[in-house]
């Protein structure tokens, strides 16, 4: 199944910028390097990059991101999908 979310914030910039759309696959196998969307109990719905699988740890790309330590281990049940398609916001959008 597919799902669409909109990016808010800059912690995944320049890969994903504020206002971009992301198409997610909700069924997938987690791999290091993938960008996943998950619901964190302290930060709500987030998009970050997977850095390890056991445990599942993520990081933002931009230096301004909430850190890996602050987010802690990611529970499997928090994950909503993997980014499979990215629609960038244009200069005139």
């Amino acid at each position: 199944m597919l799902r669409i979310v909109r990016v808010k914030g800059q912690s995944m910039s320049p890969q994903y910028n504020c206002g971009d759309f992301l198409v997610l696959a909700t069924r997938f196998k987690i791999k290091v390097g993938q960008c996943i969307v998950f619901v964190h109990p302290n930060y709500d719905l987030m998009v970050k990059q997977v850095v390890s699988i056991q445990p599942i740890r993520v990081k933002g790309i931009n230096i301004q991101s909430v850190t890996e330590e602050e987010m802690g281990n990611i529970e499997l049940g928090w994950i909503r999908g993997k980014v499979i398609f990215h629609i960038k916001k244009g200069l005139n959008d």
């Binding site: 800059q10 910039s13 719905l45 998009v47 330590e69």
Partner: protein, 171 residues
């Protein structure tokens, strides 16, 4: 065109927002301001005590306008620095520490509460013991903070009076 189509749909369907989260002030947390403030609070206790001694010994306890001016400023500064300790520690405990860190360091709650109590005691009294205990607890807090960040620490004699020990990151 695809973006514009999605934008149109978003206005009507309200897609969820995935936060590429940037926590103001962008993850810049540091216990150093709290440690310096605790050191300053002790210094104020010392200067108040010295002023009292000086007033008794050299001015016969007259306590004129000059004395009142000095003591008022010192007390205000002690109040401000002790409150700063409480504020800085509250921010780190409330915003930086999360569930995984609380699991790893459950003692952080009691330690934070102890700092709040000692901060208040330092404000309420001219009590060097309480002010030094406050600094010691803030140093303990700093050690845990750096452990969360996997940064080793060292103990250093601070270069300003009252020249007491502080925990610094060993970078």
């Amino acid at each position: 065109m695809l973006y514009q189509a999605l934008n149109f749909l978003d206005k009507h369907l309200s897609f969820n927002e995935a936060k590429a989260h940037c926590d103001v002030p962008c993850g810049v947390y540091d216990p150093i301001p709290a440690q310096i403030a605790a050191m300053s609070a002790i210094r104020m206790v010392d200067t108040i005590t010295d002023l009292e001694k000086h007033e008794e010994q050299d001015h016969g306890g007259k306590r004129d306008a000059h004395y009142n001016n000095k003591i008022t400023r010192m007390i205000n500064e002690k109040e401000k620095e002790a409150e700063k300790v409480k504020h800085e520690i509250r921010i780190i405990w409330g915003d930086f520490f999360k569930a995984p860190q609380f699991e790893q360091f459950p003692e952080i709650h009691t330690l934070t509460h102890e700092i709040m109590l000692l901060g208040s005691k330092t404000k309420q009294n001219i009590d060097r013991e309480a002010a030094v205990a406050l600094l010691n607890k803030v140093n303990d807090f700093a050690e845990i903070f750096y452990k969360v960040k996997n940064i080793s620490t060292k103990k250093v004699t601070y270069h300003c009076k009252p020249n007491l020990e502080m925990v610094f990151p060993d970078l």
